[in-house]
Amino acid sequence: MLRREFLKKSTYLGTCAIIASQCPAVFGANAKPQPSHSSAIQSSFLGWQGVTDNIDPHFEPWQGELPVQLQGMTFFRNGPGMQERAGQRYSHWFDGDGFVNQFKFSQHGVTHQGKFTQTQKFVEESKAGRFLYNGAGSIITNAKPAKNTQVFNTANTALLPMAGELWAMWEAGTPYRLDQETLATKGQVDFGSELNGVPFSAHPHADSDGTIWNFGDISFTGKPCIVVYQLTAQGGIKRYKLLPLPHHSYIHDFAVTEQYLIFYLPPMLQQLGETYIERFKWQKQLGSRVLVVDKHSLQVVNQMELEAGFVFHFGNSWQQNNELVVNLCLYPDATVMTDVMANIDNHQNRIAHEPAKAAQLRLNLVTNKVSINWAEPYMEFLQFDKRFAAKSSALQYGVGISKNNPHKEFNAITRLNTQSGQSQSYSFGDTAHVEEPLFIAKTNSNREGQGYIINTWLDYGSAKSGVAVFDAEKIGQGPLASMQLPYHLPLGFHGAIV
């Protein structure tokens, strides 16, 4: 039934089959050269300079003591690596080719290695010795027309451990499969010809039954729609459906409760622009919308309006009587994507914009009203104790900003209790850029928050990247174990631990 419904929608889109096929070409337009950064790069830009080669295995001992439970585990991080070729530099942080860092934990230390994911784009451009395609937010000289999104899929955003492999995900194409041990690229995930190259977001979420939910935003085709996916625990397609949106928007992540999928649509309508990012027009006066989708029927059952805001990431969310409680990192507007990340070498932009704050939405399913409770701390890359996924919980973890930091850049790990409003943080210093923390529950524990927090950070002052491990209940006391590499790594987005 779903398939038939789906095909009906496909036909609708099929009327612009070739038309849709050209939409990726929105990423291409009149090229304008980007200046190369070779000098006068402020040290705080270090994390966005990029790398040019794989990094061979290097061992570095722990400072402190790694908990026994974590010994033998492997921590992975994904992010944009290659930012410059043949004197041309990407202007948008989103656009660097995917580079995966692997940190193998032993009792005594960490063995790190890093590799570029061998995407079609990376292989083709490596052979050419230059960038060939415009990125989502960057324009390069003499760009080739992009015939589909997969040709410039950088696989640079997130990682999903799957059936013994690792999926390297982007948000507008099909993921790539990596070998967990060697990081060798094993090819694209095979979702079948109907789904090959169809956007698949970098934020799939596991359900309590083991299945995995995800979506792909295909609004760039000119038809404001998302594809909703439900995958088996082994990564096969269980079902998928095309879901029309009330308007064009940008959706990066979503929330999952026991009964619903929740999508937040910032007011970002379509406009003409040379790149994908330039085509989003922030229209504050329209406000934001939230769509509540029933997981069984995959139908929108509630649509709510609220004040304008912008979201990348969600934390834990659950249903409480007639309300859905949604944790998220909320920005007052979209400048983080359209301006700050779009001109990542602009130091002033980076330190002056208003970062995300932890917030909690309450969506009333009866009245269709939304209330927003803003929390005090700036927070991004929310994580939580997954044993409490879709259940009432109090604790959210993320990157934060220390109180004495002169810049509004994330330099701390923060733990927020959304019930009490209290938070605790650990600062990595004024010259730190701190990355997404992952929560690992302690074995033989059952209380929410009993676990470990693991994160990477870059100290651009000393040009070293490191890994820190905290007791999740004692973040303020500093890491239980940490290590700093004698070199730095590019700042990334999301990670996974196996």
């Binding site: 849709a20 050209q22 939409c23 027309p145 090959n196 169809v198």
Partner: protein, 137 residues
């Protein structure tokens, strides 16, 4: 309609027009020696929008560069879609959102900002022979 215009054995296709030039289309960017190349020519906005080919060519892919000639073409404006049918199912395969997953290209090799309008693909054929190149990679 479209299939009727496909002459599988013919390399060059002659229209019924009384006069005018020969159009040579160089197809570049072929990376796989498989299937067939289709070159579909439209002579107007309406023809393209309704997918009514004015002329079409189909030929087996035997080398990495193919040249297709349309003879006695009437003077006027045209647009071309070229694609490689790798699996010989006589169509351009697309995923569920309409994006082709077989090699294809358009006249003018445009980096388009939206739908491939006739205008963006348009090129003129006059009284003299004319050659264009389309990359399908």
């Amino acid at each position: 309609m479209f299939k009727k215009l496909v002459f599988t054995s013919a390399f060059a296709i002659s229209s019924l027009a009384a006069q005018a030039a020969e159009l040579t289309v160089d197809i570049a960017g072929i990376t796989q020696l498989e299937g067939d190349i289709y070159v579909v020519l439209y002579d107007s906005v309406s023809a393209m929008e309704s997918n009514k080919a004015t002329l079409a060519y189909k030929g087996a892919v035997t080398k990495l560069q193919t040249t297709v000639t349309f003879s006695d073409l009437s003077a006027g404006d045209y647009a071309i879609l070229a694609y490689q049918d790798l699996d010989n199912n006589q169509k351009l395969n697309r995923n569920m959102i309409g994006i082709p997953n077989e090699p294809y290209g358009f006249s003018n090799n445009p980096r388009l900002m939206g739908p491939p309008s006739f205008d963006k693909l348009r090129f003129a054929v006059g009284d003299v022979d004319h050659t264009i190149q389309i990359s399908i990679d």
